[in-house]
């Protein structure tokens, strides 16, 4: 990749171009979810809308993903402070919490299914499956990034360089984003049912 060329060329910039590119992509992802949520509101306003309460499992998963953001933040902080052990363990914890989040979401879908709200029924339920499903797809992307970070963390010799800081930052920003995104979606689906 050409990152080396650009980095040396433009290190007078305050933000890394790659970080900026990530934020631009996040704006794009946000627009997709805004599309879903506005479709939800428009469809809801049209009537024939089945109202139900989300299974408690989604509240649990919300707690789990928020916690994973805390551990991620810790990992970044530890990396910058060159605390290798804390960095590695927190990165691993984040990764595990991410997996647990996805399992909890899946259990949540099963619980919805069991209570009679299935995909083919009223769109109110179908929207929940769709929105949480597309969100999980984005979490899977985050887990892939974490996996790369883990492989780097456990195989490369521990050394705090600018380049590795940027990489870790980008992973962390994305992870915090999918976390905040889920909190917003959860609150939305809870209050606009």
């Amino acid at each position: 990749m050409d990152i080396a060329v650009n980095k040396t060329t433009y290190n007078r910039n305050k933000i890394s171009p790659l970080k900026f590119a990530l934020w631009a992509s996040l704006a794009s992802i946000s627009m997709m979810f805004a599309g879903f949520l506005s479709a939800y509101l428009v469809r809801q306003a049209a009537g024939n809308w089945f109202e139900f309460v989300l299974p408690n499992l989604f509240l649990w998963s919300t707690g789990i993903i928020v916690l994973s953001s805390v551990t991620m933040h810790w990992a970044v902080k530890a990396f910058r402070e060159e605390d290798e052990r804390l960095y590695k363990s927190m990165l691993l914890a984040t990764f595990c919490l991410g997996i647990v989040f996805i399992i909890t979401q899946y259990q949540g879908w099963l619980a919805m299914q069991a209570s009679g709200i299935d995909l083919k029924g009223n769109p109110s339920g179908a929207f929940v499956y769709l929105i949480s499903g597309v969100h999980v797809a984005h979490v899977v992307g985050g887990i892939a990034a974490l996996l790369v970070a883990l492989i780097h963390g456990f195989t490369l010799p521990f050394k705090v360089t600018e380049r590795r800081k940027t990489r870790l930052d980008i992973t962390a920003h994305y992870w915090h984003y999918v976390d905040v995104l889920w909190v917003v979606l959860y609150l939305f689906l809870t209050f606009y049912r």
């Binding site: 990152i3 650009n6 933000i15 171009p17 590119a21 631009a24 627009m31 479709a39 428009v42 083919k120």
Partner: protein
């Protein structure tokens, strides 16, 4: 002569050497890993200039396919009584030949041709082929960067477009035919495979292809925005950017914010098609059978689709506007008139484009009071558009215009934009739309204002920057024939359509046999078809000129043949990876110092003379 060229070269080079920004480019350049083999140089290239050519040539192939489709369905519309048996070798079973040897175009395939023509031209040619080509070519060169922020993502952007192209191309050969429900793909027709044969596998491939396409647009867009904001060279403030870059930058923002909404519309559509949800589907009977879908709203899709769909027309036209602004200024040897007003009107158009989408839905059962709001915002777009038109004309006014092919196409763009823009004011009124919606008036309007106009902008850009791309010029004689053929041809095709539309002739119809009222238009329809065939042939002349000139065109002997101010003309004729061999130029002034202080042009790398007032205040 050789001596003169030598001196001209050294002047800009000396300035870059003296004032340029040293990024130790060569220190990190052990061998050229980007261009070391054929595959990494021409196929999986990460060099923005090669990627630009890939977008351009892929776009050209699609343009030929898309235009050929229109010729075939125009044959049906213009000469419904003539046998089409002679195209059977090409179209196979889609031409039905009866026992007398008389061939007719299958009506289902007619719809598929119309649908594919729209999809291909809107997305593959005028989005990828136009913005993909020129954003890639010009952003790094004109802002003074070695390459895009992430050349790797840039390469992926092209290959996702390629993948989208392959999937769409395969769909043309399906037994059930490509998707045939119109380029807007409204449900329920698009959501129910049993609704028509094109809605089966054809629709599945259509959505798949467009999702890949959106990924390509987003990867490209993220790169363009990041490069413009982060990688501008020293001295290149936002207010010194050439208008091309402003246009590409704002286009990329529009794409980044609107295409994801199209993806959400497609996700809901895919769920309805594949998983049995009812987002868009309400109580429907097909063949007497009730489907078990209940409670969906097809209007919902239209809202989501046009939330992209409207910005999309500006995604198409803004790059053309940027190219035309630059070409007009350079070729008329005058600064662009009202630079800041040009930038502000680009921004205004971009902002307004997000709040006018429902003007595509006036007749879809939208609340008339809400329609009023959309009418007002739609008509307001005429203001920044008129500002731009005024400024282009004022730029030409009393300029020493070089009447070469790029200039002609740029002027032709202005003509088309005015003709097509004016009919937009008619259509933007919800009351007049009751008569005009879904007629040939709409077809005439959008073909002139965003189809032909965008093509003109693209042609102006290709003729103007061809020397930068290939180090040779395109043939002027062929270029001028191409221009006049296209200019006259486009008006011959689309002008009469206004009359058809005003009478109420509906678009998308296969035949008007059963409408006595429209019988008097047979001659006019034949006239339009002949115009379309001639215009199509003239485009082939362009293709011949393009490929002939790559290898045999007149060679470029100096770096800056148009005597332009922007940075791309300070790079070597054979521009290598990294664009400038030594230092990166720093920018001392804005891009439009033409005819200032008695000098014909002053390049952006030239420092202000003693006591000289900068023009960009």
């Amino acid at each position: 002569m050789a001596n003169l060229v030598e001196t001209a070269k050294t002047k800009e080079e000396a300035l870059i050497e003296e004032l340029g920004y040293d990024d130790h480019f060569h220190d990190h350049h052990h061998g050229d890993k980007y261009q070391s083999s054929f595959v990494s140089k021409y196929i999986f290239s990460m060099d923005h200039k090669i990627i630009a050519k890939q977008f351009l040539i892929t776009g050209m192939i699609w343009a030929i396919i898309g235009a050929a489709m229109s010729v075939i369905f125009r044959l049906q519309l213009g000469f419904p009584e003539e046998s089409l048996a002679w195209i059977k070798p090409l179209l196979g079973k889609w031409i039905v030949v009866d026992s007398n040897g008389f061939g007719t175009l299958d009506p289902e395939f007619y719809y598929a041709l119309v649908t594919m023509h729209g999809t291909i031209i809107v997305f593959f040619v005028l989005t990828a082929g136009l913005s993909g080509t020129f954003s890639n070519l010009l952003i790094p060169l004109q802002v003074g960067a070695r390459d895009m922020a992430s050349p790797f993502l840039n390469m992926l952007s092209y290959w996702f477009f390629f993948l989208a192209s392959v999937v769409m191309f395969i769909s043309l050969f399906l037994n059930t035919g490509p998707f045939s429900g119109g380029w807007v793909a409204y449900p329920p027709l698009s959501a129910l495979p049993e609704a028509s044969s094109g809605s089966k596998a054809g629709m599945t491939l259509w959505t798949t292809s467009l999702v890949f396409f959106v990924v390509s647009v987003l990867l490209g867009g993220v790169n363009y925005i990041t490069t413009v904001l982060n990688l501008r060279t020293k001295g290149m403030t936002m207010w010194r950017l050439p208008l091309t870059i402003w246009a590409f930058f704002v286009t990329a923002i529009l794409g980044l914010l609107s295409f994801p909404v199209l993806v959400s519309a497609f996700f809901l559509l895919m769920f309805d098609r594949g998983l049995g949800t009812s987002f868009y589907l309400s109580e429907i009977f097909i063949g007497g059978q009730a489907l078990d879908h209940v409670g969906g709203s097809p209007i919902l899709y239209q809202h989501l689709f046009w939330f992209l769909g409207h910005p999309e027309v500006y995604i198409i036209i803004l790059p053309a506007m940027g190219l035309v602004s630059e070409v007009l200024s350079v070729q008329s040897r005058k600064p662009i008139f009202g630079y800041r007003a040009m930038v502000l009107s680009i921004l205004a158009i971009a902002f307004l484009s997000f709040i006018v989408w429902a003007h595509h839905m006036f007749m879809s059962g939208v609340n008339p009071f809400i329609s009023n709001i959309f009418v007002v915002f739609t008509l307001i777009i005429a203001v920044p558009s008129a500002v731009k038109v005024f400024n282009w004309i004022a730029t030409l006014y009393r300029g020493r215009v070089r009447m070469n092919t790029p200039a002609l196409f740029a002027i032709g763009f202005v003509s088309m934009f005015i003709s097509g823009g004016l009919t937009g004011i008619f259509l933007g009124n919800s009351a007049i739309d009751i008569q005009l919606h879904d007629t040939y008036f709409v077809v005439a309007h959008f073909h002139i204002v965003m189809g032909v106009a965008a093509f003109f902008g693209m042609f102006a850009g290709i003729y103007h920057w061809f020397p930068k791309m290939y180090g040779r010029f395109m043939n002027e004689t062929m270029g001028k024939i191409h221009f006049w053929g296209t200019m006259i041809g486009a008006y011959v095709i689309f002008w009469p359509m206004h009359y058809l539309g005003m009478i109420g002739v509906p678009r998308r119809y296969y035949s008007f046999d059963t409408f006595d009222a429209f019988g008097s238009f047979d001659g006019l329809n034949a006239f339009i078809t002949i115009g379309a065939i001639i215009t199509f042939v003239v485009q082939l002349l362009f293709v011949i000129n393009f490929f002939y000139s790559i290898w045999k065109g007149k060679k470029m002997t100096e770096k800056n043949p148009w005597k332009a101010n922007t940075l791309e003309w300070t790079t070597p004729i054979d521009t290598g990876h990294g664009n400038w061999p030594g230092k990166i130029p720093t920018v001392q002034r804005w891009a439009y110092d033409y005819g200032k202080d008695g000098k014909e042009f002053i390049t952006q790398v030239t420092p202000l003379a003693e006591g000289e007032e900068p023009s960009d205040h």
